[in-house]
Amino acid sequence: MPRLALTTNYAVAHAAKDSDVDVVAAYPITPSTPAAEKLAEFVANGEMDAEYIHVESEHSAASALVGASATGARAFTVTASQGLIYMSEVLYIASGLRLPMVLGVASRALSAPLSIWGDMHDIASLRDAGLMIYFVSSAQEAYDTVIQAFKVAEDPRVHLPAIVDYDGFVLSHVTEPVETIEREEVLKYIPKSITWNVLNPKKPISIGTVGDPDYYYEFKYQQQVAMENALKVAEEADREFERMFGRGYGIIEPYRMDDAEIAMIAYGAHAGTARVAVDKAREKGIKVGLVRLRLWRPFPSEQLKKLLEGISVVGVLDRAMALGGPLQGPVALDVGTLIATRMPDVRLVSFTIGIGQRDVRVEDLVRVAEMLDEISKGKEIPMKTIPIGLRE
């Protein structure tokens, strides 16, 4: 297992190479561009036996992947921000056609105003598109998760596209040591076996058909069932990965939750900041824990419910704003649904952090822990999302 110094962009490109991806179609966009460049370099140098399709837009990149996956190819791309939302029309189709493919997304804010900096408005817009969404918190985890994502996406119980989301700049451009895995070893974990419906002149099928009112509903329901299956398959895939390569994450990761009375929920790079904040708040006597969400779609309701058992107040740290919603945090809305339907004794507080790459400092999140502590001791609960780091 070669140990390399890689940015998360490069780690994701290495993971695609080591997964023996057959087709890459990518259009450069900040902050994912270095990943697209690295993949082009791998193909040009013969280090990767793949077709690199040069396209004129992200819409075309996603379309090319649909075509590639429909022939049975293992397909991969990277994008961000406007590129991802430009792909979105086709990504709904990829999911509806039940074509497995993996996308690396270096999450970035959406225009306007124009921002090349990181936050998660792009990925939040794809919440309901029928793609699995992983959030990762390090370059190593990004590398491992791309490989795991192929395993889950290609599983016959799933057959859905998957996104591996990593924070733009904060992760995409930061260099960390990454243990890579030899391709032969990776292929033992994700052998090439085409189990989805593919175009084959010897056994012709039609894809991209019409679903009239007599049929459309049943096909959407099949996608929902595939999502439900993906939850279990993702857990299995993570366990098998850990058995083979010694690294596992779970689909949801608790930190100091055993004796916690209040909890924060975070995802992506800022889960790391939250971890340090938990330690600092603990030093002040606040019994706070952290839950890191690694899989957002499908949403791990049961797993989260179990972790929140006995918690009185939970604060969700979101990096995107669902404008005009009852709360602005997209994940807070999901957690709120879980609480409202299954755990009415838990109180929810929604926070937004790191919007447009506003700095998220450890002190900010220690302050969040203090607020949750005050609420647990009877302070009035705010009905609105609390914007951390916003100037008045």
Binding site: H159, N197, I207
Partner: protein
């Protein structure tokens, strides 16, 4: 909505693929029509444009020794969806556009 019992979600193929390719032939689309094309054989010059332009292959080229120039054109009304392209394209107005009455 159809009255016959349709397959449930478990029975339908993943991704709405159609495995029995060529099944278009078995599907009656005559109910889509509001107007129907009617070919007036006496006016027809056998130019074949309607046969070429019909998007559904619903113009049939029938070999018939008794017909003028050994063939004639007929509409396959089970597969004609009533789009009117043949009627628009016929250069000699040999196709009439007749309201459907059911």
């Amino acid at each position: 909505m159809s009255m016959t019992k349709l397959p449930g979600w478990r029975e339908l193929p993943e991704g709405a693929v159609v495995r029995d390719v060529g099944n278009t032939e078995t599907i009656d689309v005559s109910g889509w029509r509001v107007f129907k094309p009617v070919i007036i054989d006496e006016k027809c010059t056998r130019c074949r444009l309607c046969w070429i332009y019909c998007p559904d292959g619903a113009i049939l080229e029938v070999v018939d020794e008794k017909a003028r120039m050994g063939k004639r054109y007929e509409v396959d009304y089970m597969h004609c969806k009533g789009c009117g392209i043949c009627w628009r394209e016929c250069p000699v107005n040999a196709i009439e556009w007749v309201p459907e009455e059911r």
